[in-house]
């Protein structure tokens, strides 16, 4: 849950972009970094390899400024998608407040999406997370491509929590802010109803 530092009058929330390799998680974060009000953003940190763009994570802190006297920050992380990086996915999920599941809408990526979705829940359960405490958004990415599943089909498979579903094209930014805003507002709402 959120880290609240009363002495420093500070709240930090953690949001994790999850999903299979190449679904567009890093693209989301990069778009946010480029377009968000510059005074709100910190440094974008990526630990990457040549083959895949993310090894451990991408990290972008976003500041909301002072809200009711509390400096409020959201820390955005992505996880590496490939299955052999599960150790680093688990660590990135530690202390998470909100999850954006970025699905690759392409028909050819069905198995990868489902595997990643099941892996997300395995890892959350291992952390002892109660999903009702988490903000969750399903982002259906790459809607610009032609061979893609319908929103209904993907929601059936990847949204057993009945969370908000947002269609996106992260490459051009469609749906990127909407996704971020939705998960941030959810996370705040959850932390106020504990």
């Amino acid at each position: 849950m959120a880290l609240i530092n009363l002495a420093a009058r500070e709240i930090n929330y953690k949001i994790v972009y999850y999903g299979c390799g190449l679904s567009g998680k890093t693209t989301n974060i990069q778009y946010i970094y480029r377009r968000v009000n510059p005074s709100a953003r910190g440094r974008l940190v990526s630990i990457a390899t040549e083959e895949e763009r993310t090894l451990y994570f991408d990290f972008l802190p976003l500041s909301l400024g002072t809200v009711k006297g509390l400096r409020t920050r959201f820390h955005l992380y992505t996880v590496p998608g490939q299955s052999f990086y599960n150790a680093s996915r688990k660590l990135v999920l530690q202390g998470v407040d909100g999850v954006v599941f970025v699905a690759d809408s392409q028909v050819a990526r069905l198995d990868e999406n489902v595997d990643s979705y099941l892996n997300l829940w395995d890892n959350l359960m291992e952390h002892g997370e109660d999903p009702s405490n988490l903000g969750i958004v399903l982002q259906l990415n790459k809607r610009d491509l032609s061979s893609i599943f319908s929103v209904a089909d993907l929601s059936d498979l990847l949204n057993h929590t009945e969370s908000p579903v947002i269609e996106a094209c992260a490459l051009t930014g469609v749906g990127v802010f909407e996704t971020l805003k939705t998960v941030c507002k959810q996370v705040i709402a959850k932390s106020s109803h504990l």
């Binding site: 880290l3 009363l6 809200v67 920050r73 820390h75 997370e129 507002k185």
Partner: protein, 166 residues
């Protein structure tokens, strides 16, 4: 792994923590001491407001520490509780305080590593019970109330000036 335990640090605890960090920084001649969570969030530093990059440092140190933990598992080592980075000009120590808290300390090549370890170990002994107490509180419901949610919502919308989506 840390579950959904809360971490709420109050004024008294913070004073104590900052006192320990300042003293540690002094006696070790360290350039920089910080406490961060294992989930990558910064708590406090000595000197205060040391650097704008504290956020990156916290995220990276936590990542690095967690990777070390996995390494320990692979090597069937029960635990590595210390991570040590040696540089040309300076060294970085990362030590585990509690399940959720890490202590980072940087110091120059001229400082004896043994001295740093000794004092850091003592500091960890003092900090541990403070954080264990803070980890068991969940006093946030009074803080994050309806007004807070509303104001935060407005601020979130202002992140992206001139955007029509959302």
């Amino acid at each position: 792994m840390a579950g959904r335990k809360g971490l709420v640090i109050n004024d008294g605890q913070m004073q104590l923590i900052d006192g320990v960090l300042n003293k540690l920084q002094r006696v070790t001649g360290s350039n920089f001491v910080a406490l961060v969570t294992t989930s990558g969030q910064p708590i406090t530093t000595a000197p205060p407001h040391a650097d704008a990059d504290t956020l990156s440092l916290a995220a990276l140190a936590a990542g690095s520490f967690a990777a070390t933990r996995q390494l320990a598992q692979v090597l069937k080592e029960r635990e590595f509780s210390l991570l040590f980075h040696e540089g040309r000009e300076s060294n970085l120590h990362v030590m585990q305080v509690t399940e959720q808290i890490l202590l980072l300390i940087t110091f120059g090549r001229e400082t004896q590593v043994g001295r740093v370890r000794l004092y850091t170990g003592r500091a960890v002994e003092v900090l541990k019970p403070v954080f264990e107490a803070a980890e068991n509180t969940s006093g946030d419901e009074q803080i994050v109330d309806r007004d807070y949610s509303r104001e935060a919502g407005t601020a979130i919308d202002a992140w992206f000036p001139g955007e029509s989506d959302g």
